[in-house]
Amino acid sequence: LLGPTYGTGSILENTTLEVLDFNLLPSSLNLEDKYGIYSNLLFKYFLAEGIVCGHNLFVASAKEDPADILKELPAPLSDDALKNQVDEKETAIKSKQESQESMKIAWRYQNLPRIEVNIPAASARFGHYYDVSKVVSPELLQSTKWHRFFLPEEMSLHPEIKTCNMTCGYTRLLQSIQRIIYQEGFDGSYPQKKQKNILRIGIQSLGSVLWGDDICCAHNPEDIYSLTKFLYVLRGLLRMSLSACIITMPAHLIQNKAIMERVTNLSDTVVGLESFIGSERETNPLYKDYQGLIHVHKIPQLNSLICDVSGTKDLAFRLKRKLFTIEVRETVFFHYLEPERWSKSYHLVL
């Protein structure tokens, strides 16, 4: 899950970060946390990254006006702010190390280098940083070319449509995406006048009742195939064009596990977010600095028939001041007096 590849050192390990470029993967599915708070954040990060990279956006929602979603995207961190942020982190870790007792058993690690901080130039950087406490500037937003799909609006503008035996909302969405891909030339149907660009598609809360699907309310939904058909056709659209898509889905409301398995099979990447809000983990001291866990259900592996599961399974996320960070839980086996610690930060590149 990641990189920019700086800030990789930790006092315990010297492993390379796995870098997962979401841009290569047409469809990525983000299973919503219970209140949709953090999945919405990742959704916004994906779109914000599109703005900073100069991509085109397509934002689809059944509950929120896409214009409002865009207004709330996080602002990119300037280089100075970035350096300060990283310096702060380094200071925090250094002081933490000093206050610890010197390790008794793990003495050999004590002399490993501390975190090195080199910030590469923005152009060379793979991925960017965002300040969640600020929203993106209207100027930056205005310079972005984007397309909207707001279901209530579509229903009133175009009451009659040709159905393809899928929930009406899905049919309209597919038609809209297909139209934009064709009209803007993302499928190479006619040469793009400017340099080739990528279309970043964001679909919010797919599967929820607002889309007209009852898959979240019934164990045996009326049209059980709507969602999977939608995903299949979407996959076809993505494969045939220069586009990538993030979808958030309220998986905790979908009772039919068979459907969730099929949904996973139809996606390239599947990440689940489990927030601690309202759960017993909220008060668990192990998780005191964190807001939730990340479950990586699927990462694609090129040239393979089966998907890959990342080596790191214990991932937690933390939203602190400006940054959303993902960290790995490591159990320090050999120093058993020390409680389980979290280390090895990852930075999510969307």
């Binding site: 038609q175 996959r235 045939m240 398995e261 040239n303 393979s304």
Partner: protein, 202 residues
């Protein structure tokens, strides 16, 4: 894989390979212009909300018979991936019927082989899929089962391949032959080795 990409394109050009790209055909069914009379898209069932794979079977049959008159022998039907059909609303019994018809055409009549890809897992709750998978396993002579390692992720061994070869005669109650290999996927190649014999270990 890149290694074979050029040879596949060449094979397609000389008629040795017929490629039905489901994603594209489905797209054509839903967004394409009205089909001309006489031309039926193999994935027609998606727009008709049906479960009838007859047109798909006809496509397979006519594609293979067309090439039967040439010098190509022993046709192979590769299906990737059958589990998807269930996601598109096809009932398990219709999926199995399709495979049955294909077996008759490809294996019995044309003396060829069928290779089918399906997804499955031990703790799957997708009963329809498991039904299809179990039935296919029962009908198959050879099963290649790729899965991750039971012990978890390993960067030198990406997974394990079980090869189950059915005994040739059920009457003689010959045992199934089971072989297990582990593998590592590289850029243009896959290396297989006996369990515990990964290059990283030796």
């Amino acid at each position: 894989m890149r290694l074979y990409q050029n040879s596949l394109t060449a094979a397609k050009e000389r008629g040795q390979l017929v490629f039905l790209e489901g994603l594209k055909s489905c797209f054509d069914v839903l967004f394409g212009e009205e089909q001309h009379v006489g031309q039926t898209n193999p994935l027609q069932f998606v727009s008709e909300n049906g479960s009838n794979l007859k047109t798909m079977y006809e496509f397979v049959r006519t594609s293979l018979i067309a090439s039967g008159s040439d010098s190509w022998k022993c046709p192979v039907l590769l299906v990737d991936d059958l589990s998807i059909l269930l996601s598109l609303g096809v009932r398990p019994v219709d999926v199995l019927d399709f495979i049955h018809y294909c077996r008759v055409a490809v294996c019995s009549q044309l003396k060829g082989n069928i290779v089918v890809l399906v997804h499955s897992s031990d703790d799957s709750e997708d009963e329809e899929n498991e039904l299809v998978v179990n039935s296919l396993c029962h009908q198959s002579n050879l099963i290649l089962w790729a899965e991750g390692l039971a012990t978890g992720f390993c960067k030198d061994v990406h997974g394990q391949l079980k090869i189950i070869q059915k005994g040739s005669s059920e009457l003689k109650a010959e045992r199934n032959l089971l072989q297990i290999y582990q593998y590592k996927i590289q850029d243009k190649n896959v290396t297989f080795f006996a369990r515990g014999m990964s290059a990283a270990v030796l």
